[in-house]
């Protein structure tokens, strides 16, 4: 029963949920301030933090075997490459 020890309990989930709500209120508040170019950057940065919380805790990736993390990294990199290649074509056309 070593496996069950690794499961996070109710409290962890509730803490993560509170953090997610906090980040949501931060991103809504910041959107009301005019920061020019940085608005989108900050919004995406906060969305990335929220995703990391959901993926690691809610989706258990933090507690899974290594192969799941490799999968995740691979698909993340694929998406990144698609974006970088498209924009390098689009911006320097």
């Amino acid at each position: 029963m070593e496996h069950s020890k690794k499961h996070p309990g109710y409290n962890t989930y509730i803490l993560v949920w509170l953090a997610l709500l906090m980040f949501t209120s931060i991103t809504v508040t910041i959107a009301g301030i005019d920061l020019g170019k940085y608005t989108l950057l900050i919004a995406m940065f906060i969305a990335a933090i929220k995703s990391a919380l959901v993926i690691n805790i809610f989706m258990h990736i933090k507690f899974e075997e290594k192969i799941f993390k490799v999968f995740l990294l691979l698909s993340g990199m694929t998406l990144l490459i698609i974006f970088v290649l498209t924009f390098s074509d689009f911006l320097f056309r």
């Binding site: 997610l20 809504v28 809610f58 999968f71 698909s75």
Partner: protein
């Protein structure tokens, strides 16, 4: 009786929970690529039509968007709690949390319904005369808005159906405290729906 016991024993022997979860993750990656393509189209068009995207986004109601974000985040929590409950051998609590998730998902869809019907009433829907008179950037914004939030909404509906089936299986003891990988995989699907919304929300509702 003896027979069903044998089947249960056999299914236990042949079970591969890690394999099942791996399969689910692979499926989720195809979903990520599906939405990723749309986010790519969004990124390029937004880059080309920055001013028009800002103007078009003013029509969207930030309050409804924020409310739906809170609803989806909370529904993600209740799914996670449902899994924790079944791990603690609390079948009743697990069902309660799944019911809460289904209720929250319903709230989300009701909000979406009111949001879309208000837009329709203002003549903002794909192919509407009023919309087509607007600059090209705004037509693109609303085209992406309807396709992306629409596909996301479809995922919410599918998630609701799956979670309902799972709830019935917990009731019938098909899913139990030592065989709950289906609940976990359905939870993963639900969290993905939440993840996609985490990005849709700032990209459509929070452009100033």
């Amino acid at each position: 009786m003896n027979n069903s016991h044998d089947v249960a024993l056999n299914s236990h022997v042949h079970r591969d929970d890690v394999g099942a979860k791996m399969g689910m993750w692979l499926f989720l990656f195809t979903e990520v690529l599906l939405f990723g393509g749309m986010f790519l189209v969004y990124a390029v068009y937004r880059f080309q039509n920055q001013e028009q995207f800002k103007l078009a986004a003013l029509e969207l109601h930030t309050g409804i968007g924020t409310l739906n974000t809170i609803i989806l985040l909370t529904s993600s929590l209740t799914v996670a709690l449902s899994i924790a409950a079944i791990q603690n051998k609390n079948k009743f609590l697990s069902i309660v949390y799944l019911n809460a998730t289904l209720l929250l998902a319903l709230f989300f869809m009701v909000n979406k319904y009111f949001e879309w019907s208000t837009k329709f009433a203002h003549g903002i829907y794909p192919g509407a005369k009023e919309l087509l008179e607007k600059p090209n950037g705004q037509i693109l914004f609303y085209g992406l808005y309807y396709v992306m939030t629409g596909l996301h909404g479809l995922h919410v509906l599918i998630g609701m159906i799956i979670l309902y089936i799972i709830k019935r299986q917990i009731k019938k003891d098909i899913i139990t405290s030592d065989n709950y990988v289906r609940l976990e995989n359905s939870g993963l699907y639900w969290h993905l729906v939440d993840l996609i919304w985490i990005f849709l929300f700032p990209l459509f509702y929070l452009i100033q």
